[in-house]
Amino acid sequence: MKCVLKALKRLAGSIKSLGMVLAAAGLIVVLYPARAHAMHIMEGFLPLGWCLFWTALSLPFLLAGLVSMRKRMQEDPRFKLLMGLAGAFAFALSALKLPSVAGSSSHPTGVGLGAVLFGPTIMTVIGSVVLLFQAVLLAHGGLTTLGANVFSMAVAGPFVAYFVYGACCRIGLGSLWGAGAAAFFGSIATYLVTAVQLALAFPSESGGVMMSFAKFSSVFLVAQLPLSLAEAVLTAMVLKGLMGVAQGELETLGVIQVRGEG
């Protein structure tokens, strides 16, 4: 336990020094047009009112997540490790910018795994951290649009994933199919919600919110379908691996019920 914490501390230290190097580099270089990639609503592209609205809507979930995170850690210190794994998984997957059909590119979100393991609100916390990192360092998403992006990726996605997993287990699909389906629909839900957010803020003059929603969702959905499938496969793979090495923890969390299932 202690050595994990120490490793994490050292890691935090190296992230800090990396940030300083980047900041120093930024001070020297002249202005470049910053161009962001892939999903999330970009900085400044949501009117202030909507930014505040989505932030207010996300905050209770974030607080609930912090409380539930604390509770889980007190329950069993080993959960801390699994939580770190779920966070690292989301972190790694959000970096996988993949080209997609229809000539666009985007990336998976990776919040499905954690939602399946710990319930949705803990992923609100972890997803917010990932989004903050991307907004600050990658000009990807944004600080003003953080609330809206948290709501789509770290609230809607995990909640859908969580309930899809529950439903799959109830109809006896098994943990792996369940986790795959959870990740897939969680990812799709994230993009649908993003499309709704943009449509509400930018209703089309001729067709109103519905028309805009159709337009925005067509942008996201086509690109997101293969990515969501990829995310589903990766999530199932990691869960499969976890069943091999951390079966006890998974059983305690209620993720898998009987030995040898899956």
């Binding site: 490790l81 998984f89 972190f91 000539g103 990192f133 000009a139 944004g142 805009s212 337009k215 091999g244």
Partner: protein
């Protein structure tokens, strides 16, 4: 018995890797990309501009404000992010494996 289980697990994981490769690569066998795989957020911004041509973004990315060439550093940063994430995932897997009771251990 245990050996058989292991082989099945490995087979399952391999199958998933193959599925993953097909899912990622198959779409490119049909049609090509006129816009060079531009990000969906950029496309969304273009959509906003067609719907509300008068809208002015009221904030700029912080990297732009601080004059960090995030575009030039993007590959590095994405790679760092993926490597860190994957590294930590790997670390935990090793940790869990090492923590298992001794009788549970297999040749691996």
């Amino acid at each position: 018995m245990k050996m058989k289980m292991k082989a099945r697990d490995l087979g399952q994981q391999l199958l998933l890797v193959i599925v993953l490769a097909v899912v990622v690569l198959l779409p490119f066998q049909f049609g090509d990309a006129p816009d060079g795989f531009e990000g969906t957020d950029t496309q969304a911004v273009e959509m906003i501009k067609t719907i509300s041509p008068d809208y002015q973004p009221w904030a700029r990315p912080i990297t732009e404000v601080l004059r960090i060439p995030s575009e030039a550093l993007e590959n590095l940063l994405f790679t760092v992010q993926a490597a860190l994430g994957a590294g930590i995932v790997g670390y935990y897997f090793g940790y869990f494996r090492g923590q298992r009771p001794r009788g549970d251990e297999q040749e691996a």
